[in-house]
């Protein structure tokens, strides 16, 4: 569980807070998506979750451990694994499996157990067949899955992904989102996905919208996207499933706005009466 208590953060040399008093609790086992425009503070928020950044005011607790306490650094990072935007800049080794082994090696795990963890992690993300490959020859989506495996080998309970799909093509984006959804649904991991692609948030349990360093909306994706005007103010889009119903409602329909699934939306449209 991650808890933010009135967290403020200001980057050095900056004249304004990038986080302005964030209060937030991330529940165990949930899939939380965080959406926001560039500069909304969503990445800053993510970097607080495993003590890459420390609050200038307030505090962040990971399983009750204060991230500001130096002694908690390693335990915090073992609990919260982090995947970053640029797949090239987080792969440290020349061979896929050796990269995945990096974290457990750092933790001093015995060799036989590392082997086991690496194999399991690679199987979980569907990259086991590529374990002997050179990372630079993989596609963007595959690289990101290797990066996810590298974090899984640490056996964290929470995985935070800071815009992991921003540099990927649609195919790669699908691969990554499918992988993290599975991690949550099948392996019971807590997943925090930071993104600016709204369609990636549709399958989440909870959607948090960041805007100018504050939480602008928080709820299920259906609830959040239904607030069309608020989303527009935050510089974000809403899915067409919501948008079409929103505009039809203006013409006198009363369609539900929270059916994000195309099929359900279509059914609603068909049965809708004026």
């Amino acid at each position: 569980m991650i808890r933010f208590e009135n967290v403020h953060y200001r980057y050095p040399d900056s004249d304004h807070d990038s986080l302005c008093g964030v209060d937030l609790t991330i529940e165990e086992g949930s899939f939380v998506a965080v959406l926001g425009h560039n500069g909304s503070g969503k990445s800053t928020l993510a970097k607080h979750m495993n003590a890459i950044l420390l609050p200038t005011e307030g505090r962040v607790l990971v399983d009750g451990m204060d991230t500001s306490d130096e002694a908690n650094l390693l335990p915090v990072r073992r609990t919260v694994g982090m995947v970053f935007q640029n797949p090239d800049n987080q792969i440290v080794a020349n061979v896929v499996e050796e990269d995945v082994a990096f974290a457990p090696e750092n933790l001093g795990v015995p060799p036989a157990e590392i082997r086991e963890r690496v194999d399991n992690a690679l199987k979980t993300v569907g990259m086991y067949e590529h374990r002997q490959h050179a990372p630079h020859l993989l596609s963007g989506g595959q690289k990101q899955r290797v990066a996810i495996a590298g974090v899984l080998a640490m056996q964290p309970r929470i995985i935070v992904l800071d815009e992991p799909t921003a540099m990927l093509d649609p195919q790669g984006r699908k691969e990554v989102v499918a992988t993290v959804t599975r991690l949550c649904r099948e392996n019971g991991m807590t997943v925090v996905l930071i993104t600016h692609h709204m369609e990636e948030c549709i399958g989440a349990d909870r959607l948090i919208v960041m805007s100018y360093g504050k939480i602008a909306a928080d709820g299920t994706p259906g609830e959040v996207f239904s607030q069309v005007e608020l989303m527009e103010q935050a510089g974000l889009d809403v899915p067409e499933t919501t948008r079409i119903c929103w505009d039809l409602n203006k013409a006198g329909f009363s369609l539900p706005l929270d059916s994000l699934d195309v099929e359900t939306c279509a059914e609603n449209l068909i049965s809708a009466a004026h």
Partner: protein, 265 residues
Amino acid sequence: MLKDITLGQYFPGDTVAHRLDPRTKLILVFLYIVALFQAKGWVGYGLVLLATVVCMAVSHISPKNIFKGLKPMLFIIALTAALNIFYTQGTPIVEGWIITWEGLERAVKMMLRITLLIAGTFLLTYTTSPMALTDGLELLMNPLKKVHVPVHEITIMMSMALRFIPTLIEETDKIMSAQKARGADFENGSLIQRAKALLPILVPLFVSAFRRADELAVAMESRCYHGGEGRTRMKQLKMAARDWIALALGLLLLAAVIVLKHFGL
């Protein structure tokens, strides 16, 4: 074009040569180089050449790959040969010519030496993953830790460099294309103009390398990297019987070359 550089490339495989402990291979290459520089007569060279061919056969590395790697070195090889041909005193091949039999012999031997030197090191890098190589180096250099040489830091730096060479080459290609699209000209002009023309490539490359370094450091720390202390390795290096046999063969080669040298062969 930049992608064609094969220097330091690893060809995964499962031959005896691939399975040898990297430490064994490092020592073997060392022995091989010493032997190469001890070789004096044709028999000595022949022996080293034979050893190289055997190693190539064992590791399933085709001569084509070796030659491909040699390409960038051709100029140096040719230059050394030319210098030897023209600057060695002795019996002229044809009366009045500057080229002598001695010069020719030395040139051929020099070419052979450089070629074999490169081929030998290629065999090492072709059959050993860079990670294994740095692991091997780290273990071989371990005794130096006692005299406060930062062995772990040196080797992790090496493996990072190896990891990022292909990435940076790819990036250089991209930046070059982008600047060419704005009409940058890297091929024409005087030497100074051409050196200046590199700026639009080097500046973005450095900026991006620093950004990468920064992000990489954060990513490594996020994965609990805290220096070499208390680190374990997934792949434990273990010397097997084949390693000791290979080392014995290497020593044998060196001994044979030295004995041959003694007899002037």
